[in-house]
């Protein structure tokens, strides 16, 4: 079972103008149709790597290839979900979700029809006319997710999407995310610093070491998710083993 790579990261390095080296020689292939997490302690450059894949940050060494082409900037096949939601405060939920389509010049009626569908899918039906400040953090991030789903990108890049959401909301959101992604065949690249979140969600965990970030290990937690509840998954032996294995590796970085 070796699915072809949707994203290939080849020898990527990033040194900021300040001289700080964020990433060094990162090489990793991210399989199509799977959820891969980039996991590591703070300061390991995982968000930087995600932004390089997204085309928002230029690497100073190496290249990222998406569908065989070198990434020069953002592209229609990649959509981003931001840690701080990045919603327009003066726009309604409907306009925010449709914003990616608006930028692409999709006519109003068409884009709003698509947006309404996505809003319903993320569980926000009825909130179309609300403004972001009227929503909780978890609901705002659902808007961010709906916006990314609306543009029909094959690859969804999620930058610590649940980090500013409380724990209960986060768990519910994680379960919903798995359901939402199950039949879509999307390639998801998900940045997190939570070991449990990484193992719970992903088919593949890329562990990054800190300063400068590079790939420490790639794990494949073989967890059976079909027809099982979240709690069953969290009691699964493979789940617990993977969490423990990652902790053993990460422990040496947190001193």
């Amino acid at each position: 079972m070796t699915p072809e790579a949707a994203v290939e990261v080849r020898g990527v390095g990033k040194t900021w103008e300040t001289g700080v080296e964020a990433l060094r020689d990162v090489t990793v292939a991210l399989p199509r149709g799977r959820l891969t997490t980039l996991l590591g302690p703070s300061g390991c450059g995982k968000t930087t790597l995600l932004k390089i894949i997204g085309g928002l940050v230029r690497p100073t060494a190496g290249e990222v290839r998406v569908a065989g082409r070198t990434v020069e900037g953002p592209g229609p096949e990649r959509a981003f979900v931001f840690q701080d939601f990045a919603l327009l405060p003066w726009a309604t939920v409907l306009r925010n979700v449709a914003f990616g389509l608006e930028l692409r010049g999709v006519p109003r009626e068409a884009r709003e029809a698509i947006a309404r569908g996505r809003i319903a899918e993320v569980g926000l039906a009825g909130f179309e006319a609300s403004y972001p400040h009227q929503l909780s953090g978890g609901m705002r991030q659902r808007v961010g997710l709906a916006r990314a789903l609306a543009v029909e990108a094959d690859i969804i890049l999620m930058d610590e999407p649940f980090s500013s959401v409380d724990e209960q909301t986060r768990r519910q959101f994680q379960e919903d995310l798995l359901v939402l992604l199950r039949d879509r065949g999307k390639t998801v690249i998900f940045v997190t610093h939570s070991i449990e979140e990484a193992v719970y969600l992903s088919d593949r965990v890329v562990l990054l070491s800190p300063r400068p970030g590079s790939v420490a290990r790639v794990l494949h937690p073989a967890i059976e998710r079909e027809r099982r509840s979240a709690d069953e998954i969290r009691r699964d032996k493979n789940y617990l083993d993977a969490v423990d294995e990652i902790w053993q590796i990460l422990k040496q970085y947190v001193r």
Binding site: G73, P74, A79, A86, P89, W90, G100, E102, R104
Partner: protein, 266 residues
């Protein structure tokens, strides 16, 4: 520009709260005018008329048409000056916010202009442009432009970088970024700059009318002071203060309606 108890008023406030706020506002005015009346009757100075005499004088000025004539003449440089300042100030502010080159050339000028007591250069304006309408318009512009420019500039420059990144990630062009993110984000601060600019414009026009040549309301003040008609002089002064305060307050309300703080980007 008293920020009375009504400053706490919100559009969402219930009718009962609004009524009690109006009551408090009325009480505060009554107290102030009462103290004025007492001080005028005491008297503090023969040149300080009581409140009632000032109101009667205001009535006389209004009745003989001199007040209307004065404002027709005063509002001219004020309105033209604010219009010129709005166009120039918002234009420069947006230009500086969007282009590093424009910023490099003009930012120092506006930083100095905003900090300096610009009223000091009004005599210089007279030197160059004489004593006509142009000079008075310029006096308004010189005072109003810096604050309008700097506010617009800050509004543009302080756009949430995360929103810019979002716009780029969803394939927004630079043009879309400016039209759909940067300008809406700056709207609130630009409007606040206009409000402050209008307040400065009132100062500018009064200084011009007192300093350059006495016309309009400035003429009313200087004339009645020279013939010792103190109630009329105070009536003229009070009327321009009231007009300025009410205008700026009205703009503040409009601003809160157009750009409620919670959906405002900045």
């Amino acid at each position: 520009m008293s920020d009375g108890p009504a400053a706490a008023g919100r559009a969402t406030a219930g009718g009962g709260r609004r009524a009690s706020q109006a009551l408090w506002l009325g009480a505060s005015f009554a107290l102030a005018f009462g103290v004025w009346e007492a001080a005028g009757r005491w008297p503090v100075s023969p040149a300080f008329p009581p409140f009632s005499a000032t109101v009667l004088a205001l009535g006389r000025l209004a009745a003989d048409g001199s007040l209307a004539r004065a404002y027709a003449s005063t509002l001219q440089p004020l309105v033209i000056g604010i219009a010129v300042s709005a166009v120039a100030g918002i234009g420069f502010g947006i230009g500086m916010g969007l282009s590093r080159a424009v910023e490099w050339v003009s930012l120092p000028v506006f930083v100095i202009a905003q900090a300096a007591p610009m009223a000091a250069i009004i005599p210089l304006i007279t030197y160059v442009y004489g004593i006509g309408l142009t000079a008075k318009v310029l006096a308004v512009v010189v005072l109003a432009v810096p604050v309008i420019t700097m506010n617009s500039y800050k509004g543009i420059r302080h756009t949430n970088p995360s929103l810019l990144e979002m716009c780029r990630a969803f394939l927004g062009t630079r043009r879309q970024q400016v039209l759909k993110v940067v300008l809406p984000h700056a709207g609130g601060l630009v409007f606040a700059g206009l409000r402050l600019g209008v307040a400065m414009g009132f100062i500018g026009v009064v200084i011009a009318e007192l300093l350059i040549t006495p016309t309009g309301i400035g003429d009313l003040i200087t004339y009645h002071s020279s013939v010792a008609d103190y109630p009329e002089m105070f009536a003229a002064i009070a009327s321009i203060i009231a007009l300025g305060a009410v205008t700026v307050r009205g703009l503040e309300r409009l601003e809160r309606r157009l750009f409620p703080p919670e959906i405002r980007g900045a």
